[in-house]
Symmetry: C4
Subunit: 176 residues, 4 copies
C-alpha cells in the first residue's frame, strides 16, 4: 500500500465545525468554520491530490465555503456517502484503499470502514472512533481536518515540501 | 419498574444548547444546536419511543429545529412543565414513572422530581443536579441529550440494536 | 455592615458575555447572553433588591436583553460608571457601601473600588481582580453574574428562601 | 536594541478571533471579536505608538472593527504582508527590527521572521510558533493581542503608567 492517499474526502458537520447549527427566527442558518482548516486544502492542492467534500446536509453555507476554498468536488444532501465515494474513485481511477476520509458520526461509518486512511476528530463517539486508524488530538471545528492532512504528510515526510512550496508562493507574490 | 422509558422529554435551553441566547440589533435571535443530539432523536424513533420537547421559551428557532428533526410533540412557552407532561402521559397512556426527562434549571425541578428517569447536563447547578439519578459527562450543547439517550439504551443493551437498525437503513439507501 | 446588599449593579460585556462581539458585513452586531444569568435577576426580584445594568456600550442588543428580563435600571453608553452609580444610590437612598457590583475590566475599577460588594468574573485581568473581595469560579458568559448573586445569597442563608419562592410561583402556575 | 517597539502590527483571523468564520445562507459572514483586545489598542494610543492591522481577508467586518477602535492603519486583502509592513515602516521612519507583530499562520511567517518583536497566540501550529520569541498563554480570540501588548509594556515597566493614564482619563470624564 502506498502511504500517500490519492484522494482526500471530508465530512463537514462535526469535522469542519463543532457540530454547531445556528438557527434564527427567520429560517436562516449558520455554521462556524475555522480558517485553520483552509491550509489543509491548500497543502493538498500543492501536492495535486484531489479533494472532495461529501455531506448529508444541503446548504448554501457549505457551497459558499467550498467555493471560497476552491474545492473541486462537492457532494451535498448525500445520505449514502459510500456510493458517492465509490463513483468518484471510479472517475478518478483510484481505489477506496488509496482514499483518505475523515468523518465523525453514524453516517460516516460505512465509508470509514472501506477507505485505506480513515480518521475521526477527537470528540467522535467511541463507536465511530473505532473505525479510525489515526488518533487526532483536535476536535471538529478546531482544525481536525488540517491535523489529519498534516499527520499524513508528516508520515510521508512531505510537510517541509509543502511549506516550502507555500513560502515560494509568498516570495513570488512579493516579487510581482 | 421497566428499565426502558416509554416516553422521552427534553428541555431545550441549557440542554440542546449551552444556554447561549444570541441577540442582534434588529430583534432577531439565535440559538446554537448541536447536530450530535439529532442521533438521540433518531434512536428513539427506531425504538418507537415517543419523544417531546417542553420549553419555556417560545421561538421560531425551536419550532424549526423540531420540524427539521421531525419531533412529534413540541410544547413551547410553557412555564408549568409538569402539568404539560402529565397531560401528555395521559394521552399516551404512560405514567410519569415510565417517563425520561432531561432539564437543567429551576423550572425543570418539578418535573425532574416526578419522572422515573430524571437527568441533567454536567453543568447544571447543584440544587438541580440533586434531582438527577444519572451522572452525564456532557454539558448542554455538547450532546448531553444524545448521551442521556445512549446511557439508557446501553443500560437496556439496546445500543447495538439501534446502530444495526441505522446501518440497515444506510444499506437500503445504497441499494435503491 | 449589613451583609446583604441593598442594590446590585452589573456590567455587561465580559460579565453577561465572554467579551465576544460578533460583527457581520452589514453593520449589524451580536452578543451571546447566557440564560443561566436570568435566574440571578429573578432571585433579586424575589428579594425586592433593586438591580441595575451600567455598560459603556450603547446597543439595541442590551436594551432588548434588559427588556426581556424586566431590568429596572439600564444605563448604556456610560464611560463614567461611578458617577451614574452614585446618582442611582442617591435616588434609592442607599450607599455605595451597601451596593454590589460585578465588572471585569479597566472602566469598572473606579466603581469596584467604591462599592461594599465588588466582584469580577474568573477571567478578569489580575489588575482588575485585585479589587474584588469575592473569588468567582465562572467566567463571563458562563453564568458569573448568577454565581455572584448566589454566593451573596448563600452568605446570608437566603438561597433556600428564594428557591422556595420560585417553587411556590411554579405551584401557583400549576393551580391556575 | 530599544526594548519598546516603535510600531505594532497585528493579524486578525486567529489572533483577534479564534479563526472562526461564520457563514449563513445568504452570503453574509461573521467574525467574533473580543472586547478584551480593545484595551491593547488603547494602551498603544496612550503611548503614541503607531498601530496597524494587516490581514489577508477583505471584509467589511474588519473595517468596521478597525473603525470602532480608531485603528490608524488598516491593510486588508494582503497576501504579501512583509512588503506592506516594509512600506509602512519606511513611511513612519522605523525599522522592522523596531516593529512588533503578532500572527498565527503560514502567511505571517515571512513577517514574523523579520520583525524584532514577533509573537503568536498559544494555539498556533508549532511550525509558526518557532518564529516567536514570546510565549503567550492566550489563544486567538481570548485576548492574545492584549496579552502581547501587556507583556511588552510590562517588560518596559510601562503597565502602571498606561493604567494611570487611563484612570486619569476616567477621572476627567467624571469631573466634566
Amino acid at each position: 500500500m502506498n502511504k500517500l492517499p490519492k484522494l482526500f474526502i471530508t465530512d463537514i458537520d462535526g469535522v469542519w465545525t463543532d457540530g454547531g447549527m445556528y438557527y434564527d427566527q427567520t429560517g436562516n442558518e449558520w455554521k462556524k468554520f475555522n480558517t485553520s482548516d483552509s491550509a489543509g486544502v491548500l497543502f493538498l492542492r500543492y501536492l495535486d491530490i484531489p479533494f472532495a467534500i461529501i455531506t448529508s446536509e444541503k446548504t448554501e453555507i457549505v457551497r459558499r465555503r467550498a467555493k471560497k476554498l476552491k474545492v473541486e468536488y462537492l457532494y451535498d444532501g448525500i445520505s449514502d456517502k459510500l456510493s458517492v465515494a465509490e463513483q468518484l474513485c471510479s472517475e478518478l481511477g483510484v481505489t477506496l484503499n488509496e482514499t483518505a476520509f475523515i468523518g465523525d458520526d453514524l453516517n460516516d461509518i460505512p465509508l470509514l470502514r472501506k477507505v485505506g486512511f480513515p480518521a475521526v476528530p477527537a470528540n467522535a463517539p467511541d463507536y465511530v472512533k473505532k473505525y479510525s486508524s489515526l488518533k487526532l488530538t483536535k476536535k471538529g471545528g478546531e482544525g481536525a481536518f488540517r491535523e489529519f492532512v498534516e499527520v499524513i504528510l508528516n508520515q510521508n515526510n512531505l510537510m517541509e515540501d509543502v511549506l516550502n512550496k507555500h513560502f515560494d508562493y509568498l516570495e513570488e507574490q512579493k516579487n510581482r
